[in-house]
Amino acid sequence: MPSTNDLIDQLTADLQPRRKTSPWAGRAVLGCVAALTMVVFVAAAHGMRADFIAGEPHSVPLISELVLLSALCAVAAAVTAMARPAVGALRGGWQWAVAALAVLPIAALMTAIGNASERAIMFPPEGPFCLFAGTLGSLASIVVLTIWLRRGAPTSPTRAAWMVGITGGAVGAIAIGLICPIDAVTHIGTWHVGAILFAALGSRLILPRFLRW
């Protein structure tokens, strides 16, 4: 290994101007990919849910989509900020957004316990499809965020992997929510939110090695 003085000389000689990693650039790219994912889903399903198109949305899917969207924005903002490390930076707000996501499965569980007809539609034949499609819909966002984070310097690859997965999963869950005709919170809180869980677990298992530097 060369002496530190030699290393400094080498690094200085190697210096080239470099564009700064901006979290806003990452958010913009993610926004485009998320929008594209949703367009693809809607196109593949030959249109959005009828009530959404008619401008008369059913309250449960609408609230679910908004909860997912707010969590997506909070986690996406936090994960893109991870590209710029700094000791002492406060970036804990995303955990509250993720906690808010638990509202949907908790509501699903409570509704299923107290309501037999809701319990009956908790496991419809469409359930696994929503889970699979939602997880599939997370992939593009996960790949783009991973590539983008690798340009930066995330100092906690494991946490970054969780957050990338939750962000991608939220994109997939929102996309499937645009086309799934089922209104029940028991369905949305299990199968749609389940896609976030799958994406997060998959990212946690696979991504840390790609995010280390």
């Binding site: 290994m1 530190t4 290393l7 400094i8 000389d9 690094l11 200085t12 000689a13 190697d14 210096l15 080239q16 101007p17 470099r18 564009r19 700064k20 990693t21 590209a83 710029r84 490390p85 700094a86 000791v87 002492g88 930076a89 340009r151 930066g152 310097a153 100092t155 906690s156 946490r159 530097w213």
Partner: protein, 173 residues
């Protein structure tokens, strides 16, 4: 010598534009800061290697620095990441020891926040003891087992778990 963050911030901003003299100044000042940082955390034979690894990380990740923010917290985050990496390597090998060489120097608050002694106080006593005995005081596992009244296997498990927890603690700071 105190390092002026504002001068470093402006010099690093210049470096991002390709200004070599500014960059050489930043790297030189960073080296001084890193030597003080690692002196409190890793054994002397590891210091120079870690300083060099961190300077290379500064170079390869310089685009992640935001010139509108202070430089030293960014450098501290990079240094901490490399330190966690070193802790993980330490956990995975039996060769390295955390001989404590805490200096009396007037370190910056950022450095003080991350001192190894303070971090050890967050571990359960049995894990901290096992680490202190084997990695700081340099006892063998057998000696440490005799001193703290644990089996050798338990000492190894406590060292392993303690170092893993230590790495997680440093990461979450």
């Amino acid at each position: 010598m105190k390092i002026d963050d504002d001068i470093l911030r402006r010099s690093m901003a210049g470096a991002l534009e390709g200004d070599r003299p500014s960059y050489a100044f930043v790297l030189d000042q960073s080296r001084t800061w890193l030597l003080a940082y690692y002196r409190r955390r890793v054994p002397p034979p590891m210091i120079e290697d870690l300083v060099q690894e961190t300077l290379m990380s500064v170079h390869s990740k310089r685009q992640s620095y935001d010139p509108s923010r202070p430089y030293l917290p960014w450098l501290a985050a990079i240094a901490r990441y490399r330190w966690v990496d070193a802790l993980r390597r330490m956990r995975d090998t039996d060769e390295l020891h955390l001989e404590d060489v805490a200096s009396e120097e007037d370190d910056s608050p950022v450095v003080a926040r991350l001192s190894i002694g303070r971090l050890l106080s967050h571990l359960p006593a049995r894990q901290a003891n096992a680490i202190v005995l084997t990695r700081i005081e340099g006892h063998s596992v057998a000696e440490a087992a005799r001193i703290c009244g644990q089996s050798e296997n338990l000492v190894k498990v406590n060292v392993h778990r303690g170092l893993r927890k230590l790495a997680a603690l440093v990461e979450s700071e």
